[in-house]
Chain length 202, copies 2
DNA sequence: CAATAAAACTGATCATACTCATATTTATCC
DNA sequence: GGATAAATATGAGTATGATCAGTTTTATTG
């Protein structure tokens, strides 16, 4: 921990930020995203209504604030679990299923979060989301790279495009799940089937 | 045209609907989606503020109203253009590039539209969006199926999963473009590279 | 055609995300 | 440590998407 010499100001800000995130997380989980008002979050965090918008550009932005650390841990865990699998297809399935299992705890909220991730507002938000995506795609690249060593992927396969293609497949299926076009069972089947297809080629 | 025997009521509704769509389209194009108020649309369409919400459940929903027919034609045109190509990879690239060329005329609006398509509100909207997606994916399936006949795709490749996988790849790249992570040139390169990858397998 | 019912429309009203002029708190300087 | 500047917080105010009780228009019935 390199948390030395936090000035009074920085302490207060960090503390307030923490209260806001905690309040937002609790209310979103309890009442849902739309049903939660920014007033309620402000009250629960014991800050004024306007203060909220010094820490998040918008209500939507609160979602990113709330989920950022959570997502970083999730990606880490998904990667750890995926690495234990011997076959590339299982690694990919495990990686993505770990995400979905997490999202399944609160599908409406995950839906709101995905909406926000897919519609970044400005430069600041873009770089935040980009950081997260880089993390997710980076792990995917590592998984694919290691599969090359086990002869489960061609050596010529470029890692970044491969990771992005595979993620695209996952993402579209996730949207189908979150928007109620398919259920979890179908999602599992579809994802696996499509990933197999991508590994083999059409 | 099977437009026989429109009752007075149906006539009025169709006319009003048309005015609302036209007004919304014009204002969105001219001032952008966020900067356009529902009041302005109502005024331009010469209906009361509340009437708007009898034709669209929400402001966001107006986007779907505005773009539905447009999208149907676009898919048709993209399919026609794609069929002229001899190679599967070129067919896919052409199909998707036709979409993007259309979206490029107004990127912010396309971004708003994609956001809405990815976040359907209720059952009615879901079926509307579903209809559109079925159309898009259906054409994709046809393209892939015909490639089987030319030995550019395996016979065993299941069409629907293949179409969905390929679309997923496109969709994720489209989001990157719309959110400003990449520019058009990069998009073109990335899309082609990733589609080639999916055709060959990893 | 008058009476009744059903559908469609209206616009004042409401709820709430977000702003901004003002006040308060914290840091800096001599 | 008092004065000044900078950063942060406040909450009343604003803009606007959405609602809904009341009105108007259209259809139906006898």
């Amino acid at each position: 921990m390199a948390k030395v010499a936090l000035s009074r100001r920085e302490q207060n800000k960090a503390e307030k930020r923490g209260r806001i995130i905690a309040a937002a997380r609790a209310l979103f989980a309890h009442k849902g995203f739309e049903a939660t008002t920014t007033q309620q979050i402000a009250e629960a965090a014991e800050v004024a209504a306007g203060t909220l918008f010094l820490y998040a550009r918008s209500k939507d932005d609160l979602l990113i604030l709330v989920f950022r650390e959570e997502m970083i841990e999730l990606v880490e865990r998904a990667y750890r679990l995926a690495r234990r699998e011997p076959a590339l297809i299982e690694q990919l399935v495990t990686y993505f299923e770990t995400f979905v299992a997490h999202h399944e705890r609160d599908l409406p909220l995950a839906r709101a979060l995905m909406r926000q991730l897919a519609h970044v507002a400005g430069a600041d938000e873009r770089s935040e989301v980009n950081e997260l995506m880089t993390n997710v795609l980076g792990r995917l690249s590592l998984i694919i790279e290691s599969a090359k060593g086990r002869s489960q992927a061609r050596f010529e396969t470029p890692l970044t495009p491969a990771a992005r293609a595979v993620f695209g497949v996952y993402y579209f299926n996730l949207l189908s799940l979150l928007n109620g076009y398919i259920n979890r069972e179908q999602f599992d089947r579809d994802l696996r089937g499509q990933l197999e297809l991508v590994l083999r080629g059409l």
